[in-house]
Amino acid sequence: MTDAINRRRKIQNTVWLTLTGVASLLVVVPLILIFYHLISSGAGALNVAFFTRLPAPVGETGGGMANALLGTAQLVFYAGLFGIPIAVAVGVFMAEAGRTRFGSFVRLVADVMNGIPSIVVGIFVWAWVVVAMGGFSLLAGAIALAVMLIPMVARTTEEMVRLVPKELREGGQALGFTRWRTTLGIVLPAAKSGILTGVLVALARIAGETAPLLFTAFGNPFWEWRLNEPVASLPLLIYQYAISPYDDWHRQAWAASLVLIGLVLVVNVLARSIFKNPYRSR
């Protein structure tokens, strides 16, 4: 009897442990499929025209996404310009005041803001900036992306500043440095590679965001440099082309996705190589 029971236990053991392997497979398979389709459907449409031409009028083939590439670059640039200094300041605050009630409260707010749906952020910025400016704009899009960037980078900055061993800080104070000199002159430089990593990862994240741009940057079929005009962006164009009925646009959407993912991947690998981060940035 015991043998039969033991055999059943062994079978259960094998079955359940195999199921965990199956689960892992089921998780990895979509990734492989996505990359496969990106390459098979997208690589073909990646040509010079893609990178240099403007989108063709509706229904015509042969256009490109050059302005969207520029637009995404602009959006990310301005979002970083506005958002990074604020985020680093907030991050330093949280690292220094983290144990106080106010500091913990701010951290909670940051974590909650990291969880706000990106479309809600877009709507918020619409109500604030677009209505005030009277129209869609690059500025509004950048602000929306900045609002998403700030809590992300604030938290990673905090974690990196926290990682700086307190001996460094104490060393500075022992030398007679004032608190602000210690933080700005010693601690921040020590944390800078980690902070940079967090910044890069966050920039890669916002480069791929679509929802916040739907009613802020809105999109633009032409080249655009002005801050107060709508601007094209890669994710917006992918969306627009994906839901359209035109095959050529579908292929361009795949190509654009390939470019986007390539960018995101490169930036992430770069970021990780700068700082071997054992902690996951939430």
């Binding site: 236990r9 259960q12 053991n13 442990l17 199921l19 965990t20 199956v22 689960a23 892992s24 998780v27 990895v28 979509p30 990734l31 389709h37 990106l38 459907s41 604020i86 300041a89 907030v90 330093v92 605050f93 701010v106 909670l108 707010v109 974590d111 909650v112 803001m113 969880g115 706000i116 749906p117 990106s118 479309i119 809600v120 952020v121 709507i123 918020f124 619409w126 109500a127 700030i150 004032t178 608190r179 602000w180 933080t183 890669a204 791929g208 965001e209 679509t210 929802a211 739907l214 009613f215 994710p235 969306y239 994906a242 839901i243 959407a253 996705s257 986007l260 993912i261 995101v264 991947l265």
Partner: protein, 334 residues
Amino acid sequence: MASRAETTPGGAPPAAPKKSLRALVPSRARGNLADQVYGTLLQGCGLILPLLFGFMILQIGREAWFAVSTFGGGFVTSSSWNPVSGEFGALPFIYGTIVSSFLALAIAVPLSVGLAIFLTELAPLWLARPIAFATELLAAIPSVVYGLWGIFVLVPFLRSTIQEPLSEALGGVIPFFAGPAYGFSILSGAVIISIMIVPFISAVAREVLEAVPRDQREAALALGATRWEMTWHVALPYALPGIIGGSILGLGRALGETMAVTMVIGNRPDIPVSLFAPGYTMASVLANEFAEATGDLYLSALMEIALILFGITLVVNVLAQLLVWRVSKRGGQA
């Protein structure tokens, strides 16, 4: 700034100290002043996030007020969404959001926990690292790319491989499988959300599973438990609070997913029983109709939906944070 007591070369007496306001303040206090300014500035920076957050609530709330005051509580119970006639009821979207998110959770949590167990208990290092890396990669893919893949790969697959057979075989018996196999449906929305939230849930699950003390595992194994029995009886119960926290975090993300869902869910403001029928989520209706909303009431109704979505994700995220915070505290005590 200590006063320079040494003589200049050549024996000349030291120059007289500059008569300035700053020189009157003793040096230690001067350092303190800078520090005080710094401290105040820093506190000010701390205020930025709560202020921004409050401002967000204010803006959206203000725009939504019109609809709130017009419809009152009926907004969340009414299921008719008719911009033309001016009837706005949010129930279809609330339904679609909740059903797709919870279904996604039901798919994602077992997969994530299974993956976490596989990585921590079973997989040798040469296998575990690439799989973990692949999972992280899933988190880096933008939502719109998921949507693109969803439209051209996932939906056709689900329609032909799952929906059509199931609906033919069981559609008469089980209402969840009834009706034509649309492809663009609540099921597709749920599946794509589940793929997107697995990296987050499994990351948390992995962390808490790895934190189970070795001697607890060994105690069970030394008593003659099989590996699975040890995992099920000892490791998982230990890791359970963390896994729950991670799942709620995943739920928070699921509720707010926009692009991928919009592209595969069908976008019909209905409350279907069948999972194979199209649905509509709060995030999706905002994405689709906000830019074209004509009329103050229409706009305000959408704003109210945004407010509701904001509120729901707020509550869920705060809950998750509290749980995760509690778990990490307990880990320090153990």
